[in-house]
């Protein structure tokens, strides 16, 4: 795990009983394999629970002229039918803007549409009934009259002066624009030896969590207390949202996220149907549950990507990349999402362009436009696959133009080890990256020369294979610069409370959350190591605003780096408390004692002096035996926020090996390799699986996934049969290795790993396809690379 060059600094946790760096299985996995998970729809619902269903707009853009709900109200089992105007009486609408995205605009968004629908699938009327089936029966009795308006679907057309306006009050369909300039890109292009360019298109995705969005709200009017079970990454953010928008004291709002069946960034946005469900519970004073079905997930979950990028790269005669000029146009649907906005993906895409390389001249122009489509916002690897896809495609084109091997061309242009700390032309600060070690390791891992030989030999047999690379950088550990500075009530800190319990066990309540990445396992590893106990004796509690401190939770690869550091700091504090107490009992200086495997031991000899169990027994049940004036401090609580840099950066490289059937256009994935550097690896087993899972989501982007809309704004493939996601039989084995360059801004040194796989996989696959197609003079610059598009590129299909 050690990098070849930068030694990993010693850590206070490098002790004989440390769990850091060990592949410990997840403590919560056992109940999940036995079907004993508690996803929101599994939570035993309070008596009298009602089930919500929503009537959604069939049009992408229309004015609502009339709503008749009389028959639905009279239908069997129906307790409540609500329109947007009625929800507005108990729930404040929202606007998805933040001040640090200067000029970002959006319109007022209501939980349920009021007078005007702006995308197909927007919820309009809600019904709460005794069963979901009864609620759906009632929906069929609602009559809504719409006056259709011209839909705006194409992002280029949305900006034409004659375009219809989605939100007339904004005066245009432009949500946000940003220009990032550094050096003199135009001059660099005038001086260039070679210029390569491309028009790139990235399809619109749906995140497709296997568990759909789910919420169970129970409002108790006697105390005005609201309990919400929700499938969310961010229970604290949702607690704040419900309190403010429903006019409740925050202390009266309790949000619980038990098991979450996948999230990938999709489950941290505010959705009108979920808020309306909670509002219906407040109106009724009864429990109301809403579980999105798959057909309503497709048009109502946030979408992602959807970029059109025109980009150029300038290269000097010696093969040095000197400049990039990039224009990114991205369509974000009908609103900027609340509360995190829809500007983040474009902002990151435009700033990550060219990020791994030495070029100093850059000009990036971003336009974010509204469309009559589902709202687009943050999904795994926000902006990264766009920047990586564009940059790495141009790098391959440039290498070919200069006549260099693509790996050698990258080596010449990647940031070298002597430049750190380094500020990129787009303003990103890289503490220390390990591009060259990663490239070297990948080359060995994949046996690159052998693959090139195989490629040449296969070609003689008419078998068309290709090899593609993608170097990537990844933003992790976001501090307050991410949202807080823009006015969002989204915290960048985390909190942890560690307690020695009467049994001698450790209870760890921490504000980062678990959606399967193994948060609870690594927090247990860190707590056990910091305090000095066996991991079996640590119980981690997450996902409950009443049980843990308020914190940022899990997103943007912040769990290990920020949450983990919080647990480490807290663990050291509890350990100090316990050693102080043991010192008093044993009449020894605490510095001469240590805690190891749950035992208080002599530092010098390692000899056991007293068990933690015994210490706990005395502290809880026989404090009368302690000296006068001694109070045992059995709990430690700390908060932590990274302050040293705005966010951390990881890096790595991926390679894809593909075979293209040039008759059918089908791509077979033969192999995939990743070498990445997430800093200190806390649990290699979990890190590798984060990478692999991320890679496959990136492969989905490269080959399969795309929300197809008609010109009228109708989602054409909104079923799981029509929207293709990767299946086991078509995925390759994925080989993962690491370089470790811990961040020095924390003691733990962990940087996070959630986005890395997704950041680079699609670019590697597309480059591999283009490598395969190169002898045919064919090139694709659109994802997904469907068989049809490949055949078109080969000239085998017209158009």
């Amino acid at each position: 795990m050690m990098s070849d060059r930068a030694p990993v600094p010693p850590l206070a946790l490098d002790r004989p009983n440390s769990y850091i760096g060990r592949s410990v299985p997840r403590p919560n996995a056992r109940r999940l394999v036995q079907g004993r998970g508690h996803y929101t729809d599994d939570v035993a619902a309070p008596a009298g629970v009602l089930h919500a269903a929503f009537l959604r707009s069939p049009y992408a853009h229309a004015r609502i002229t009339h709503i008749d709900v009389a028959a639905a109200k009279a239908a069997p089992g129906v307790a409540l039918v609500v329109t947007g105007a009625e929800i507005d009486q108990v729930c404040e609408p929202w606007v998805g803007v933040l001040s640090h995205f200067k000029g970002l605009r959006s319109a007022t968004q209501h939980a349920l549409a009021v007078d005007h629908v702006v995308w197909q699938g927007e919820p309009v009327v809600g019904v709460a009934a005794l069963t979901r089936a009864m609620a759906e029966d009632a929906l069929s009795l609602i009559e809504i009259a719409y006056a259709e308006l011209p839909p705006v679907t194409d992002p280029d057309a949305a900006l034409l002066p004659e375009s219809p306006l989605i939100h007339p009050e904004l005066g245009s369909n432009l949500a946000f624009a940003l220009t990032v300039e550094s050096g003199d890109a135009e001059a660099a292009f005038r001086d260039a030896h070679t210029v390569v360019s491309g028009d790139f298109r990235f399809g619109r995705h749906s995140p497709v969590t296997l568990e759909a969005r789910s919420v169970l709200a129970d409002f108790n009017p006697s105390e005005r207390r609201l309990t919400v079970h929700q499938s969310t990454q961010t229970p604290y953010q949702m607690q704040d949202i419900y309190a403010r928008h429903l006019g409740l004291p925050q202390a009266n709002v309790h949000v619980i996220a038990k098991d979450v069946g996948g999230s990938f960034g999709m489950k941290l946005h505010v959705y009108g149907d979920e808020v309306a469900t909670v509002a219906m519970s407040v109106i009724l004073g009864r429990a109301v549950k809403f579980i999105a079905d798959r057909l309503e997930s497709f048009p109502s979950d946030i979408h992602a990507r959807d970029h059109r990028v025109r980009a150029r790269m300038a290269v000097a005669a010696d093969g040095e990349i000197t400049a990039m000029i990039v224009d990114d146009l991205t369509g974000v649907g009908a609103f900027s999402a609340y509360p995190r906005t829809s500007a983040v993906e474009g902002n990151q895409a435009i700033r990550l362009m060219g990020g791994p390389y030495k070029l100093r001249h850059y000009s990036g122009n971003l336009r974010v436009v509204f469309q009559n489509k589902a709202v687009m916002s943050q999904y795994r690897a926000v902006g990264h696959p766009i920047a990586c896809g564009v940059t790495e495609a141009l790098v391959d084109q440039a290498a070919a133009a200069i006549g260099l091997d693509p790996l050698e061309f990258r080596r010449r242009n990647l940031l070298t080890d002597d430049v750190y700390p380094y500020t990129s032309p787009t303003g990103y600060l890289f503490e220390r990256l390990s591009h060259h070690q990663c490239v070297d390791k990948l080359e060995r891992l994949m046996d690159y020369p052998a693959l090139r030989a195989d490629q040449a030999e296969a070609r003689t047999k008419g078998v068309v294979r290709g090899i593609g690379f993608a170097v990537f950088i990844e933003i992790t550990n976001p501090g307050p610069a991410f949202y807080g500075v823009g006015g969002a009530r989204i915290t960048a800190q985390d909190g942890c409370v560690l307690t020695l319990e009467p049994s001698g066990n450790i209870r760890c309540a921490v504000s980062v959350t678990e959606q399967g990445q193994g948060t609870e396992a690594i927090m247990a590893q860190i707590a056990a190591s910091a305090v000095g106990v066996r991991i079996e004796d640590v119980r981690v509690i997450t996902g409950d605003t009443a049980a843990t401190p308020y914190g940022g939770a899990t997103w943007a690869s912040r769990g290990a780096g920020i949450g983990g550091e919080t647990v480490l700091i807290t663990g050291k504090a509890l350990r100090a408390n316990l050693l102080r107490l043991a010192g008093i009992l044993l009449q020894m200086p605490p510095d001469n004692l240590d805690i190891s495997d749950g035992l208080i031991v002599d530092n010098a000899t390692g000899r056991e002096r007293i068990t933690l169990q015994e210490l706990a027994r005395i502290a809880y049940y026989r404090p009368d035996t302690l000296p006068q004036g001694v109070q045992a401090e059995l709990t430690a609580a700390h908060h932590h926020v990274p302050r040293g840099q705005p966010f951390a950066f990881t890096n790595g490289i991926q390679a894809s090996h593909v075979e293209v059937d040039v008759e059918s256009g089908f791509v077979r994935l033969l192999n995939h390799w990743v070498v990445e550097d997430c800093g200190r690896v806390i649990n290699p087993l979990l890190v590798d699986e984060q990478i692999r899972g991320g890679v496959v989501q990136g492969i989905g982007a490269a080959l399969f996934e795309e929300c197809l809309y008609s010109e009228q704004g109708q989602l054409l493939n909104g079923t799981l049969a029509d929207y293709l996601v990767p299946m086991a039989s078509e995925m390759p084995d994925i080989h993962v290795d690491h370089v470790s360059t811990p961040t020095l801004h924390s003691e733990l040194g962990a940087k996070g790993v959630g986005e890395a796989g997704t950041a680079g996989a699609a670019a590697a696959v597309l480059n591999a396809i283009n490598d395969a197609l190169q002898p045919f003079g064919a090139r694709l610059s659109q994802m997904p690379a469907t068989p049809e598009r490949i055949l078109r590129a080969l000239g085998k299909l017209a158009g």
């Binding site: 299985p25 056992r30 394999v33």
Partner: protein
């Protein structure tokens, strides 16, 4: 809506309920019997999260009506987790050790299918495992670890059973 008396053997116990004909098997298992280990992922027969065994063969709980299961033997992940199901037990152990699950939502369905696979073929190749579980969508793992875990379970079963 009218209901029909329906008797199904679920995890070895005969249960009789009045059910609406439109109720599908997975909603019946979850709603009527509280067997929430079987999950609802798409309700149109694609994702595989609702897979259970009926008379020993995998079926999609969302594509079968409860009334169609009348008189049949249904085994869910809860039943397969009881003692005596050595193949499922080996799979569960391998899934935990290999971290072949993340969010775990797809996992019970995949374990049901993998149980059926190893019952029919005690030593499947990686390709065959990949094909066998292709009726299941997993968004978290990328499948590689699942294939590893099924292989590991097959190896463990072979080692503990001796030659067939």
């Amino acid at each position: 809506m009218t209901t029909m008396a329906t008797t199904i053997s679920v995890n070895g116990t005969s249960v009789t309920r009045q059910v609406e004909p439109r109720t599908n098997l997975v909603d019946f298992l979850r709603g009527e019997l509280g067997l929430t280990g079987t999950h609802v992922g798409c309700e149109h027969g694609v994702c595989g999260a609702c897979t259970v065994l009926m008379d020993g063969a995998t079926v999609r709980g969302c594509l079968i009506l409860a009334v169609q299961a009348s008189g049949r033997d249904v085994l869910t992940i809860e039943g397969l987790s009881e003692p005596g199901h050595r193949i499922t037990k080996a799979l569960q152990e391998a899934f935990v050790l290999r971290n072949a699950l993340q969010c775990g939502f797809c996992t019970p369905g995949i374990l049901v299918t993998a149980t059926e696979l190893l019952t029919q073929d005690p030593a499947p190749s990686r390709e065959l495992i990949r094909e066998a579980i292709s009726g299941h969508y997993c968004r978290c793992t990328g499948y590689h670890a699942i294939v590893d875990a099924v292989q590991q379970a097959a190896d463990v079963l072979a080692a503990t059973q001796g030659p067939a």
